[in-house]
Symmetry: C2
Subunit: 327 residues, 2 copies
């Protein structure tokens, strides 16, 4: 392995000069620069990031903390984070937290010892002290951590209004809203959006809380549908729930979209594969991840960030579970 000393020797300068040149810090004459460039080239020298980290106390590692990569929402996010990180020369460490504060804390501690550059976090531990005191750049994704921490999320309320109106416009008179867990900010925003839109209308509605889990959703909806045959539209706060609702509809024997229309929320790939294809309010997850990463890197590199809150617009994707367009 060639070291900075080898380069210095070859270039006929001191290691300090080489370092200064490489980091573009301090004064370096044109000749010295040329000599060093040549030596680096010739020796194929590559700086050792570990040695550097040891005294700068910085690395180019970014920690991505999310509940569970297995949840269909996150892979695309992770992908975006990694893509952007790569272009800026950062590397992504994957951390599944299971929403467990202990695990989160543990990861933060462990990675801080490695001089991690920053974190992108999706968590409910909004104001857990391990974030407030982390003393390292953080960007929150999807769910706000606290006001001081920049946050990137979808325009959930807007999206819910959009979805509700789509159902209304297609003639639904009796809508079931599948509300997500109350601990989740995005779920609450979606609920607010639904309420805002539905109350503008004359339609009847009911709200049922429903975890973002396929089988559970299916069972809940199956039950509700049996009790309430008059329901002609379902707006689910997640695609997984919507998929459960769709299955429930088929089990209960209600034709989608003729007798019952369904709209999901998220826009995961699976929606397309269902029959009929799932109409959904799609989040631009990739974009969220990309923005979050860029903001984080700006923070890391001490550039000014203009704002502290980024809302990524959602988009209605119309497929077969609503009537507007057949498939």
């Amino acid at each position: 392995m060639t070291t900075i000393k080898d380069v210095a020797k070859k270039a006929g300068v001191s290691v300090a000069t080489v370092s200064r040149f490489l980091n573009d810090s301090g004064y370096v004459s044109a000749e010295a620069a040329k000599a060093v460039t040549a030596a680096v080239e010739e020796l194929k020298y590559e700086l050792n990031p570990i040695a550097r980290s040891l005294n700068t106390k910085k690395s180019n590692l970014i920690g991505l903390i999310l509940p569970d990569i297995t949840n269909p929402f996150f892979p695309e996010l992770a992908r975006a984070v990694e893509d952007v990180a790569l272009t800026y020369g950062y590397t992504v460490v994957l951390c599944n937290s299971d929403e467990n504060p202990e695990k989160e804390k543990n990861y933060i501690e462990t990675l801080k010892k490695k001089y991690i550059a920053g974190f992108i976090v999706t968590s409910n531990q909004l104001d857990a002290p391990h974030y407030a005191n982390a003393n390292v750049p953080i960007v929150a994704l999807d769910r706000a951590i606290n006001e001081k921490i920049p946050t990137v999320s979808s325009n959930n309320k807007e999206g819910a209004i959009m979805g509700t109106n789509a159902l209304l416009e297609q003639g639904c008179q009796n809508i079931l809203f599948l509300r997500g867990p109350a601990e989740l900010n995005p779920a609450n925003d979606r609920y607010e959006g639904f309420m805002a839109a539905i109350q503008q209308s004359n339609a009847k509605y009911q709200v049922v809380t429903c975890p973002f889990h396929f089988t559970d959703s299916q069972k809940i909806v199956e039950h509700v549908l049996k009790e309430n045959p008059q329901i002609d539209g379902i707006f689910a706060s997640s695609d997984v729930s919507a998929a459960g609702a769709l299955k429930a509809a088929s089990l209960v024997g209600r034709h989608v979209p003729n007798e019952l229309q369904i709209i999901g929320f998220d826009g995961v790939a699976m929606g397309e594969m269902l029959s009929p294809g799932l109409t959904t309010v799609a989040q631009d997850v990739y974009k969220m991840g990309a923005i979050a990463t860029r903001v984080l890197i700006k923070r890391i590199e001490n550039e000014m960030v203009e704002q502290n809150f980024y809302e990524v617009p959602v988009k209605l994707i119309v497929r077969g579970t609503t009537r507007s367009v057949g498939e």
Copy 2:
């Protein structure tokens, strides 16, 4: 930050003794051990992994190189890798390669500079020199790299035989096999399995190559189904293709499973959400990831590994796209 020097001073010993005690290397007397333990405790000392890495030239980072975390096969794998890594004190770096040798190579180089402990790799660049010459422990996942590199994969051939026989037993007489890309080892093994089983029978069959991509598969199957109304069974080499086939069937108006039975391969979560639920030959992806990680860590820690090839059994999950059991 408290350093090893602080601990040494507090314990009244030299840094060498502290280091020896902490690493359980060399001789340390009982008294010294006690003093150091107390000092560590009192100062809440935690060893700096970067400083250590600098001279051991080792870290506790594991690189996970896979084509695309967005592909539904990989999140569970990543999850398993991370879970196991965590219990052994390792941290996972996520690398999406897009099957691009340049990217793979680049990641390997970059991470080697960080003294990465080892890699878990899913790649087709079977014997690319950057693996052979990586000079760092590697375990291959799903697809073999070369004989010297331990490999963990599913029992693909066995699984394909199992799936084919299931179709046969349910009375299929004319089976369409959706073969995966020829560059992929697992796809070839599945093809072999299918051929072995089908040739034992009197059933007619045809084979069509089909990428692991939903819309493409759907279109291909739609076309084939129109041309060949006699097809009464489809065995897809992947669940995504099977989902495409299922959708194609519904578009072409063939009832599943009455007129046409479908079996997929992989066992991704999405299969359950389809209507009818997808019968599939499920891989135990989590287990594959877990085994791979354990094997890698053994290699890293210079323990003997018994074998160089691990086959994880697959399992037939019967749902609604085959007749055996309704839903």
